[in-house]
């Protein structure tokens, strides 16, 4: 059963806090700008264009994916924060269903991610990427599904940790490897076999690949690794698996 009241509270709370906290808002915009122009700008001098796409353009979908990844995981693991500082108890003693709490957390993280994706889309003209309205809609849709999926992975992680000291563990052992093994910075099929296989079990890979497919429709598969249909099916399936897992675990671990 779904309680719209708890979903509403969680979304209102997270979005309000995100908008209110100026430093988080600014750093969430600064990170992609730094990656695009400092890392991408530097490396595009070394890496030759692929199918008419320069390196700085090539990593643009990857940077959208990175923003979604950081923002989703960070939103989801605020559950640890809520456990540590007590607010989770306020929600848990309320007459609301546990699955709605999980859904609310996942949706609020997704909405916060979408605000950031929208702002990164405003950077596209500076990279020589022109997107029509239909492409923008496709990017937003894929980012939405990807973010929802990653939020549920984040919730699953957060359920297991009780203190915020675990934050650096999560960043170093989950978030960073996920980012570098996602095809954000280099095509997956050019990786050594072992790394390539690791990238193939990473849901972020398919999200970023989907974004590559819709942002560079004319590159004829020289930029992306999989067909867009494969990308979408895998993201939807992974979302379904992780929301089920996170809800089940949330119910048993946070009674």
């Amino acid at each position: 059963m779904i309680d719209s009241n708890v979903i509403r509270v969680i979304i209102l709370r997270e979005v309000k806090k995100f908008v209110r906290e100026k430093s988080r808002l600014i750093s969430s915009i600064a990170r992609p700008v730094i990656w695009l122009f400092l890392v991408g700008g530097g490396l595009s001098r070394l890496v030759p264009d692929q199918g008419g796409v320069s390196y700085i353009q090539f990593i643009y979908p990857g940077i959208i994916g990175m923003t979604v990844l950081f923002s989703s995981i960070f939103s989801a693991i605020s559950i640890i924060w809520d456990k540590e500082f007590g607010y989770m108890k306020e929600i848990l003693v309320a007459p609301v269903s546990r699955s709605s709490i999980v859904l609310g957390k996942a949706l609020s993280g997704t909405i916060v991610s979408m605000i950031q994706v929208f702002m990164i889309l405003l950077l596209s003209p500076f990279l020589g990427i022109s997107l029509d309205l239909f492409q923008v809609a496709e990017v937003l849709l894929i980012a939405f599904m990807l973010s929802f999926c990653l939020c549920n992975i984040g919730i699953l992680i957060a359920v297991f940790y009780d203190s915020f000291e675990s934050f650096s563990v999560i960043m170093n052992f989950i978030v960073m490897p996920m980012f570098f093994l996602s095809g954000a910075m280099y095509p997956v099929n050019k990786l050594p076999a072992v790394l390539s296989w690791l990238a193939r079990v990473n849901p972020l890979t398919y999200g970023i690949d989907g974004l590559k497919n819709v942002i560079f429709p004319l590159s004829g598969g020289s930029v992306s690794d999989f067909p867009v249909g494969t990308d979408l099916v895998i993201i939807v399936l992974t979302s379904a698996i992780f929301i089920t897992l996170s809800t089940l675990l949330f119910r048993t671990r946070l009674k």
Binding site: V9, R13, K16, K89, A94
Partner: protein, 328 residues
């Protein structure tokens, strides 16, 4: 019907018994005190009653609803102020209470008014749009009480409501809590290890090592001690002791440099002593028993050791420190 009914409640953690076959009833419209030292099982019992934890054996019901079988009905009918703060410090007071109103489905037409009334009730209306992180400890506590009242629960749980507050804030908080049973037609279940705070309770239960060791109204429990205690110093304690025993037929004894004896009729007893002993009385004082004495009498130790108290303070300091460092 009892507001709370607990039968044979038992809870173990990794083989250690936290609560052992606890039984008690709480009458509607009363203030019920659940007393005991730190680690006695008070918070465990509250967590079971609030449906945050399952019991290993026994049953508990609140407002007629079974805590393990009908958790949502229990949750709807109770309000809780936890021992540790549960406000969101990055939201305003008004937002904290408004979100609470959403969670408990306070109907839209009265939502705003109910929230404002609750903030006004605890005297923080002027600061309702300030972020919680600017509030003092006492104000936060009061606001937590106000939040627990927003959905007009029938039973209010207060877990160590005054822990870590300065005496002035404690007194302030109590003036609000005491008004609740009458003004809101509410039952209050509170835990505390400050025995003097339990004097306001209609009934109390004293718990130690997970078992209930005494039950009753504060005055009943105190009368177990045999009334007030008289402490007397005379010029010659031994001679005076003999006179008290022989002439007044009182079972007195010497403890340290004082003669000590209990009496049920303290008001007439003192003039009598002075008449009997005359000028040899150097000092005389009377002590009314406290709930602390009750605990001392039953268990042979003080309910609150300095050690436990400084531990609380330390924990609070660590939390405050971590809160600060997390913000950076």
């Amino acid at each position: 019907m009892s507001a709370i009914s607990v039968n044979g409640l038992t809870k173990k953690f990794n083989g250690n018994v936290a609560v052992k076959e606890v039984n008690f009833e709480v009458k509607p419209g009363t203030i019920f005190g659940f007393l005991g030292p730190n680690g006695a099982g008070k918070t465990t019992t509250i967590n079971i009653l609030c449906t945050l934890m399952g019991a290993d054996a026994g049953s508990a019901s609140v407002n007629g609803y079974d805590c393990s079988k009908e958790p949502d009905d229990v949750r709807r009918s109770i309000g809780i102020v936890f021992q540790d703060p549960t406000l969101d410090k990055d939201l305003t007071a008004y937002e904290n209470l408004l979100y609470h109103a959403y969670l408990y489905r306070v109907p839209k037409p009265v939502r705003r008014r109910t929230v404002e009334d609750a903030i006004r009730f605890i005297g923080l209306y002027e600061r309702k749009d300030d972020l919680i992180k600017t509030y003092s400890g006492g104000m936060k506590r009061r606001l937590e009480v106000a939040r627990a009242l927003v959905h007009q629960p029938k039973v209010l749980f207060l877990d160590e409501p005054t822990l870590g507050l300065d005496p002035q804030s404690r007194a302030g908080l109590w003036t609000y809590i005491r008004r609740l049973p009458e003004t809101m037609d509410m039952t209050i279940f509170m835990t505390t290890h400050y025995m003097e705070e339990a004097e306001v309770c209609d009934d109390i239960c004293i718990i130690d090592h997970g078992s209930i060791i005494a039950k009753g109204a504060p005055s009943e429990l105190k009368s177990m001690l045999g009334g007030d205690v008289v402490y007397l110093i005379a010029d010659d304690n031994k001679k005076a002791l003999g006179m008290i025993r022989d002439l007044l037929d009182i079972e007195a004894e010497i403890k340290g440099d004082e003669i000590v004896f209990p009496t049920k009729k303290s008001d007439t007893c003192i003039p009598e002593i002075i008449r009997t002993l005359g000028d040899s009385v150097r000092s005389i004082r009377l002590q009314r028993p406290t709930l602390n004495d009750v605990f001392l009498k039953i268990t042979g130790r003080e309910i609150r050791s300095e050690h436990a108290d400084s531990g609380d303070q330390l924990r609070e300091n660590i939390r405050a420190y971590r809160r600060r460092s997390d913000r950076q």
